[in-house]
Amino acid sequence: MTRLCLLVDRIRVEEKLLIRSLERRRDVEFDVVALPDVIFDPVASAERRYDLVLNRTLSLTRGLAALEMLEAGGAVTLNTREVVARCGDKVSMSAALARAGVPQPAVRVATSPEAALRALDELGYPAVLKPAVGSWGRLLARLRDRDAAEALFEHKATLGGPQHGVFYLQAYVEKPGRDLRAFVIGGRTVCAIERRSEHWITNTARGAVTAGVPVDVEMDRICRAAALAVAGPEALIAVDLFESPDGYLVGEVNATMEFRNSIEPTGVDLPSLMVDHAVAVASGGIEARFGAGAAA
């Protein structure tokens, strides 16, 4: 019998689907543990009650704190604190992709408005300013010219907290009305969707419409390489891809991905695959499937 903990702070559609999948497993006992109800003690919390803690926390900061405490107590976590932290911070994520040679849009990181303006001169306009920490397309800005950049940077300097002192700038990729999202579970690219929108931000949280797309050889290769670079062989992640004239580019990698809009269009039972993978990791049976061809 495998003992799993589903770690949440809120229970959304995704978590309900995971719970339904867990309930169907006769070889799994599980609890749903909500962060608002928990006190952690790093000394006393030798947390070996569960074979694995499956993290589904919505808040990056709170989730990292919880994973830190749980891992200190000996818990096996999926994704791990390290992976969640790397995916949650675009600076860390881009660094990991760069180290592994995984193709991504040109990125510059600056820590002052003046340097950020010089970075934009290098990247060229339009370019995209993203908060290093953030999701769902929030606070993204497409900068069409230097005037817009100067105005935006002044606003950030005036209104923003310390996190907004880091300027994460990405070359704008002219998309064919869509971007792609592929799900990588334990080294396998299990399915992919397109997210289509007339808006340049194609997040489903912003109203993009999804449809299934086939996983081609190149997409699979890039996604597995991105997963390995950012999250390792046990990755349970979603890779966002741009289609550029030079091929696929990895826009970002998500460690607590949403999938409610991806099940029907792909026909893939993502929550069951996630549970299967969690059980495999918990029992030590996961076999890294990355071969020599995984390198980008």
């Binding site: 949440v8 543990v33 909500a34 990056l60």
Partner: protein, 69 residues
């Protein structure tokens, strides 16, 4: 760690609460859980289940800066 409460799954009654925003009845299904997010189909707000006994919901918190995937 303390596992969160679940309504009795054997009790298949559909549980209802009044939306605190628009007062329309909102279905929580047959097996709601504490901290579950449920939309009000009438006014669109998101509600969070805070308690199962007694059944209680509050407006779900606004999206925070570090929320996401």
């Amino acid at each position: 760690m303390t596992a969160i409460a679940t309504a009795d799954a054997a009790d298949l009654r559909i549980l209802m609460v009044d939306c605190p925003e628009c007062a329309v009845g909102v279905s929580l299904g047959a097996s709601p859980m504490t901290h579950e997010i449920v939309p009000c189909v009438e006014c669109g707000v998101e509600l969070e289940v805070m308690s199962l006994d007694p059944l209680a919901v509050e407006l779900a918190p606004d999206v925070e800066e570090d929320w996401g995937e």
